[in-house]
Amino acid sequence: MSTTEHSEHIDSDTGKLGMWLFLFTELFLFGGLFIVYAVMRSKYAADFHHAALELNAFIGATNTVVLLVSSMTVAMSLTAIQQKKAGKAMGLLLITLILAGVFMVNKYFEWGHKFEIHLYPGSDVMKSMPHGEIMFFGLYYMMTGLHAIHVIIGGILLTVVIFKINSGKINAEHYLLQENSALYWHLVDLIWIFLFPLLYLIT
């Protein structure tokens, strides 16, 4: 706790605490949507079951696996940098980015298909549906949309990390940025772990 030496840099425990606090705010940001989900689901249980049939559980499951694997590669990359294996660390992050890309492509096709059959908020198809299903798809779009934005932000962060490892700014001694970006990426995974059963598996 003592601050005997003062440097321009932020020490790693301080930086990590800051990141964790930021993750708390992210959890509560999604938390608001989970409250809406809980209320709406308790109100329209049958409609939610019916609407969830419309979602492709296979794509959902694939994306779950993709994110879980990417979470591991991020964790392994951190191990690699701690063990001074910069090349391996970059390789693993690259794999993570590719997995993030796979996730987004899946998402694109998933959303694209729904737009093709005019299943989006405000469409005539949707307006004619029962109330509970409108709520379900509203939540589906809002939650997966907000999550996708976080995937993109996480991807950008990891890209920056790759460049910094390459230039040697992140190394076995100083890897706070990589640690924090990894934490962010795990959060993206963590949110999805809740979204997947709540949206795809309640049929």
């Binding site: 964790w20 308790s42 499951a61 591991m72 701690q82 795990h186």
Partner: protein
């Protein structure tokens, strides 16, 4: 910003964690096939919570962090649970 005395998880540990997470995912997909009625959601949420705990503990290194941070994380989830519960005092009785 020198990192020191940080835990380094081995690759094999990471693989093990992933394996467990994948098994739990498979379980949660299978769980919807056996119709347990009203408990479907409860079961899905329970499995999700276990997975989240594993991610927090191992991938996010909470196991190796100080007690204070672990308490904070626990407190945040608890706070959220209380907020949902209080909201439902309204919706459940309405």
């Amino acid at each position: 910003m020198k990192n020191h005395d940080n835990h380094i998880s081995s690759d094999s540990a990471n693989w093990t964690v992933l394996l467990i997470l994948l098994i739990l995912t498979t379980l949660s997909i299978l769980a919807i096939k056996i119709h347990v009625g009203a408990f479907t959601v409860a079961l899905a949420l329970l499995l999700a919570s276990v997975k989240v705990t594993i991610v927090l503990t191992y991938f996010m290194h909470l196991k190796f962090e100080n007690l204070l941070l672990r308490l904070m994380v626990g407190g945040v989830f608890l706070l959220f649970a209380i907020v949902i519960a209080i909201t439902f005092i309204d919706y459940y009785f309405r």
